[in-house]
């Protein structure tokens, strides 16, 4: 049995690694001989089989092919409908995880418990969906770990560094940045920040627009008219992007599917870098935000570490070099280090101190003694970057006589303005009648190692209390019963 297994369930690629007896992690290839499996699922119409990986990606029936499902893991209403059956994002992810489990276990031994990586800014729902996906695939999640944390663990293990490290992880779909302190085997995470929908696939989309523009100019026709052909051209743009990391100029020839002629596409690195400049500026904002959160300056960082395929873009390196005054280091193979780090994390988690990725609180009327104003605000109980696991209590007072019901909203987000936080749950507590205002109510939030939150509300006078774990509702969220039922169904499926 493989004891320490890590899985990088990526937006575009997924990988599984295990810890060898010598203490070093190793990537386990799938049955197609690939070290990384494209996170793509194809639902065949002729046979009752789900294809996962390269075969699915290159198949060619776009309305039966699911790409980048990870981007929807935090959407409670997202569903994919194939042949009248509705699939949740967790189920699609479970198909990818099932392939990895079934095929890799033939090489490294039975896989029952895993560490799975998630983006640092994955919210509560997305984390819960990831755990559900693993359960459906027949694996227990020992821990979820943030992707940049996993990469940093691998970097520290393989390079033997000491000091403050900033990990810049620009993958296929998300950007994560984490600052941590490394001292031998001990790792202390200081902060993690993430940006959604910011990664290599966004760059591919921009290149696709450039291809379409050049095609239109040369032939007067549109480059693609259906999803199948758009996918083919997108594949070509991805190759062109990779080439532009090595060459200053790349030429390609493309045709549409209407016999409108062939166009010669001419791209330069300079032009490509201009195209993605706005997105890279967003990444600079995020790095600055991480530094601010950790109360550090760029000069306080000893090592800048690059993770994720998009960090091969030369502009990324020069931009960070300019910002930090030192050359960023690559984390070995930038595509594999997250999975490798996850396998290491499975063994070393006790020596790694993590922090809460978001603030949790409740909505309360807050009275400002100076201005004498009362305003509905997000009152934070657990601040972001608290060391986890943790538990914090905040005491509030009822503000009206004869309140019969106390309603406590559980918020996620650090903004004081209630508009900019998510209400992810609510506790309703019945309290005795005929009480004057000013009764104390203690609200305790607990945060576990998997970044899951629980809330406890205690009415101090009556002693009545209620505790809940956050649960989500929506078409794309499975109930516990449904999860069990679909798990059994999924385990009997043919997945290749």
């Amino acid at each position: 049995m493989a004891e320490h297994v890590g899985i990088d369930l990526g937006t575009t690629l997924s990988g599984l690694a295990y810890l060898k007896p010598d203490g070093n992690p190793e990537i386990v290839p799938n049955a197609d001989g690939e070290r990384l499996t494209p996170s793509v699922v194809f639902f065949d119409s002729h046979e009752d089989v789900k294809l996962v990986g390269s075969a699915a990606r290159d198949g060619g029936e776009p309305d039966r092919t699911i790409f980048q499902i990870k981007r929807h893991m935090d959407d409670p209403e997202h569903l994919v409908e194939i042949d009248g059956k509705k699939w949740t994002p967790a189920e699609i992810s479970a198909l990818i995880l099932s392939k990895l489990k079934r095929e890799c276990s033939k090489i490294c031994g039975d896989i029952t418990e895993v560490v799975i990586t998630v983006p640092a800014n994955f919210n509560e729902l997305a984390r819960k969906s990831t755990i559900a996906a693993a359960e459906m695939a027949g694996m227990k999640v020992r821990r979820l770990v943030n992707e940049p944390t996993a990469a940093a663990v691998y970097y520290a293990h393989s390079q033997g560094v000491k000091g403050r490290v900033l990990v810049y992880d620009l993958g296929g779909g998300t950007l994560d940045t984490t600052i941590l302190e490394v001292d031998g085997e001990h790792i202390k995470i200081l902060t993690s920040e993430g940006a959604r929908h910011l990664g290599g696939s966004n760059f591919d989309d921009l290149l696709l627009e450039a291809y379409a523009d050049q095609y239109k100019k040369q032939t007067g026709a549109t480059l693609y008219s259906d999803e199948r052909h758009r996918r083919r051209v997108l594949h070509a743009t991805e190759d062109a992007k990779k080439m532009l990391s090595k060459l200053q100029r790349v030429n390609d020839t493309v045709a549409n599917d209407q016999n409108s002629g062939i166009a010669r596409i001419d791209l330069t690195r300079d032009h490509f870098e201009k195209m993605i400049r706005h997105m890279l500026t967003r990444t600079v904002f995020l790095v600055e935000q991480a530094l601010d959160s950790a109360k550090l300056k760029p000069s306080d960082i000893d090592h800048v570490v690059l993770v994720g395929g998009s960090t091969r873009i030369p502009k990324v390196k020069t931009m960070l070099e300019k910002m930090f005054g030192k050359t960023p280091k690559s984390c070995g193979n930038v595509d594999e280090c997250v999975a490798l780090g996850a396998a290491l994390f499975a063994k070393k988690s006790a020596r790694i101190q993590e922090v809460c990725n978001a603030s949790y609180g409740t909505l309360a009327m807050v009275y400002n003694a100076k201005t004498k104003e009362e305003k509905l605000m997000n009152s934070i109980v657990i601040p972001k970057n608290s060391i986890i696991p943790c538990s914090r209590t905040q005491v509030y007072q009822t503000s009206e006589d004869n309140e019969r019901v106390i309603e406590v909203d559980i918020t996620q987000g650090e903004d004081e303005d209630a508009k900019f936080v998510d209400v992810i749950g609510r506790i309703t507590l019945d309290v005795p009648p005929n009480r004057a205002k000013g009764c104390e109510v203690a609200v305790t939030f607990s945060y576990d190692e998997n970044q899951r939150v629980r809330a406890l509300v205690v009415d101090k006078q009556s002693g009545r209390s209620k505790e809940v774990a956050v649960t989500y509702k929506g078409a794309g969220v499975l109930s516990d019963e449904e999860l069990k039922r679909r798990s059994q169904h999924l385990r009997a499926m043919r997945i290749e």
């Binding site: 935090d74 904002f285 508009k419 989500y472």
Partner: protein, 108 residues
């Protein structure tokens, strides 16, 4: 600052509800808050990136920088909000924030 816990349904509705109400589904309160917030959805003429970011012509550089940081933190988080409307707004705001930065502090 003194924090007062208050029954939210009363505080927003203004009435003296004494009966217990069924718990609203998560997110409904946020909708109410959105409705109570200054209207941004009204048909208005297109606003410049500076206007969207609350940057005035004579604002000092360090204030602009601080404002952009605050807005980026707010809207980057909103980009993964459970509220689809807020997610859409966040994308537009993030574009505006980047444009203002490039205009006032140069390209990366």
């Amino acid at each position: 600052m003194f924090k007062i816990f208050k029954n939210i349904s009363k505080s927003l509705g203004g009435g003296k509800a004494t009966e217990s109400k069924p718990a609203a589904k998560a997110g409904s309160l946020l909708d109410k808050v959105n409705k109570g917030a200054p209207a941004t959805a009204k048909a208005e003429p297109p606003r410049t990136p500076e206007e969207l970011c609350g940057i005035t012509p004579k604002m000092p550089k360090d204030e602009i920088r601080a404002q952009l940081k605050l807005l980026f933190r707010r809207y980057n988080r909103s980009a993964s909000s459970l509220d689809a409307k807020l997610r859409g707004e966040a994308d537009k705001m993030l574009d505006a924030i980047v444009q203002v930065r490039e205009k006032h502090f140069g390209e990366i």
